[in-house]
Symmetry: C2
Amino acid sequence: MSPDDDRLARATISLVAEPGDARALGLTRELGAARFLELLREHPELRDQLAAASARLAGVETERVLESAARRGIRFVVPGDEEWPAQLADLDRAGVLHDRGGVPVGLWVRGPLRLDRLGEAVSVVGSRSSTSYGDQVAAELAAGVGARGRPVVSGAAEGIDYAAHRGALSAGAPTVAVLACGVDRVYPARNRDLLRHLGEAHAVVSEAPPGASPFRIRFLARNRLIAALGRGTLLVEAALRSGALNTGSWADRLNRVVMGVPGPLTSPVSQGVHQLIRRGSATLVTSTEEVLELVGAAGSDLAPELRAPEQPRDGLSVRARQVLDAVPVAAPAPTESIARVAGLAPADVRRLLLALAEDGLVDRAPTGWRLTARGRG
Amino acid sequence: MSPDDDRLARATISLVAEPGDARALGLTRELGAARFLELLREHPELRDQLAAASARLAGVETERVLESAARRGIRFVVPGDEEWPAQLADLDRAGVLHDRGGVPVGLWVRGPLRLDRLGEAVSVVGSRSSTSYGDQVAAELAAGVGARGRPVVSGAAEGIDYAAHRGALSAGAPTVAVLACGVDRVYPARNRDLLRHLGEAHAVVSEAPPGASPFRIRFLARNRLIAALGRGTLLVEAALRSGALNTGSWADRLNRVVMGVPGPLTSPVSQGVHQLIRRGSATLVTSTEEVLELVGAAGSDLAPELRAPEQPRDGLSVRARQVLDAVPVAAPAPTESIARVAGLAPADVRRLLLALAEDGLVDRAPTGWRLTARGRG
């Protein structure tokens, strides 16, 4: 069978099977696309298991759809194409969730960005009903990973998805929207300008064929692609029932790292993220560096340990600190008085005061010792 | 040696040794308080190791201090007293941190609350420079654990400590302030009213004797007591250098559970807490129930799993959801049209529509089927 025959068979399956239908994708993998189609045509009794596929098969005109798509700048990318994102192979091993699973038969793509450039991508997802805090953090982290050369993958919803694309674009980074509907659809309508721009300068991707509606059930299939395309999935805000949690589950099944941004516990759209962190299903992240460390190769891109600035007291012995605590801020005190307060022998205190003076923590006045500004710090 | 002699010897050590001095407490444990004091008196050459103790020993008048304290309602509680909090014994096994460690020789207490009532206590600590978010969460969680019969333990600083006491008091729960200075000192001055109230109706506790100043180094020793008194330590807000992190380290060394409240990653006073959660040194908590589950006996007080309300679609099969997705919201559609959109056989769709109608998700109009309000939900 020629590659073109395989592409045509895969496009036909894409037109007749529901996106992510685990049975159809499993049979395609086992039998090959063309043989699976034959089987469907020859055995109407398979209808019960593959209802959508067999019912639609009669009227489908695959070549016409491919041509019409091509005229509108939409290509159909299949496994074996140079552009095919190799990381999707992990979907074969990730099993099934909500009857969805498996490697897609192909991906419909609008936009110049090649999908094989997504090997280092980070997926950023979250609530449609995000807060301005969530939007700000999503944009900043997406810009941060984008500026470090990593593409961003997200959906095209309002809220966190939108903010993530905006952040990546602000850093001049490639960014990809994976849709639950056809890549020629504008959904949600409010993101019309974003979708147009991504389709012109980046990429809009879907497993569902052109024209397909954004049925809710398709989002479950779509989420697995967002999770599979990225090296890790970052959840910025997600309420307890957020679809972003489904993406997080997929990332986990795919052995991708799952990362969560903390928020105020009074914020319902942080509850889902907090729950994942609490259960150990997601790692709390607070910066671009921490995200990069987690999605990077082990041992590379280590995030700098967050440290407060060193303080003058840091290196002191306990006894030196006892003396320092006993030195007055305002009126200078003689060594004997400091020794009494510190409970240390005057000779020791004298020695320690001289060392503290060398460090600039105390200074000597005619009537005794007092703290410097540095010593008070 | 009589119990009174032991108490007197311990009070003397409390007057001459720095709070939490690991060497003095270790020798007290090994030799007994009276023998350790003898040793100090007989061997001035120990001065180098126990500087504070030996230098102060000459002038100390323990009986006078105990009498003066008693007149002001301050008692000195020692191991062996009925009131002694048994959980402090864990400090003997917890080792030394920053030269501090060990079971205190005794505790100075002002207030009617007996310390042996703190067996189920929760320690709540955090930043002095808290945000209003942190204050609110600290007060709510302290009130929550207090309402469930658990005393609260904290310091007496402004910010989170203050909010924690306020929360416990609002729930009518016992609450204890552990100070780094003498229990007769008012530090910080802004918390004068709180300290007076706790001393009259609850308890103010310190390892340092009456009159002792709130030297910085004493906070390190004090923190171990806050950590040791509670079954777990809750960090509400803590910047990267916050003393609350030191309390968390002590709780960890003492095999107490360490809990952290998440906050916006843009908030510097949440950075220290996030770092502990990220490292796995603290468990993220978002509610009283989660705190109670963690500090409770294993398997008791399990927090209810946070769940969003069930949705009408939750129990549906994938095919029923495919049908539901294909039913229009407004103008009713006939079965055949719905079957075409769903890609399913009309006979199956008819059966599924009847089942969906029974669940109240679709209803039948003269011209076909449409979604109900419940079906749109």
